[in-house]
Assembly symmetry: C2
Homo-oligomer: 145 residues x 2
Amino acid sequence: MYVSARSDYALRAMLAVAAAAPGGDGVGELVKAGNLAEVQEIPLSFLQGILLDLRRAGLLYSHRGADGGYALTRPATEITVGDVLRAVGGSLTTVRGLPAERAGYHGVAAGLTDVWLAVRGAIATVVDSTTLADLLAHNQTPAAP
Amino acid sequence: MYVSARSDYALRAMLAVAAAAPGGDGVGELVKAGNLAEVQEIPLSFLQGILLDLRRAGLLYSHRGADGGYALTRPATEITVGDVLRAVGGSLTTVRGLPAERAGYHGVAAGLTDVWLAVRGAIATVVDSTTLADLLAHNQTPAAP
DNA sequence: AGTCTTCCTACCAAGTAAGTAGGAATACTG
DNA sequence: CAGTATTCCTACTTACTTGGTAGGAAGACT
């Protein structure tokens, strides 16, 4: 698995936004992009494109103007690492650019498709069972069941 | 996880070589690169570089000359998908080009390292428990334990 | 009107992936 | 020994992706 700078930045930004949210539901404190860029050392203009993706994926709420900024649309306990990765990166495992299920093998290689599907499942198990709240609480990653 | 053409070709070539090996131990039938390229539809000169990597990693035995070719150095039951992937691709999961354990996070992002390590472990569990022989027998991938 | 912020598009530079070309070294055959 | 078939090795090309930048338009508040 290759974690791109985009994915990495997206997760760090989401964690920083989540850290500013109040415990309950509700929208929480608005955090400015410039603020996120500074505290997590991410180039601002690059980050803005990423935040846009996260908003379009429905993970962030945003507001413009003088007191604008970003906030989570759901509590941090309901946003998983997988949600964030898929928002910015598309499919979790690809074979030469194609999604795992249609790699198209013939002959002795036919069994490979199942390997890639198993890999994708294993990755999904980890990233979909770890929420932003888990990471903030430093409850680390739950062991694979 | 991104499976590159290199990794994909390497696995398919190894499977084709394994399919030509006799059941027991021993070196088995020598298979020519041109043969592999044809049956698995891989560009020959590209494949040659890959076969070289596999030989240097100790997975293939090779012989030059008129009756040359390639054979497995170990029985197919003792070569895993992970062996092949690591031979041609290096580390299984990288964060922005670096191995997962030294991604270097500060502040609220500190927990991310453990996520990447868990992902790497999950991938390894799948690819290291699937042998070439499993794939040839079409016994598919053993479920994660 | 002015200012602050998000939004959006286009662009650039460097690296990597995928594939090609051409020849050197080695092994066997007659 | 000459010839042929194969692996070995290096250098190169081409195209795409990644990471990052620039510059403004659109909206929100005072």
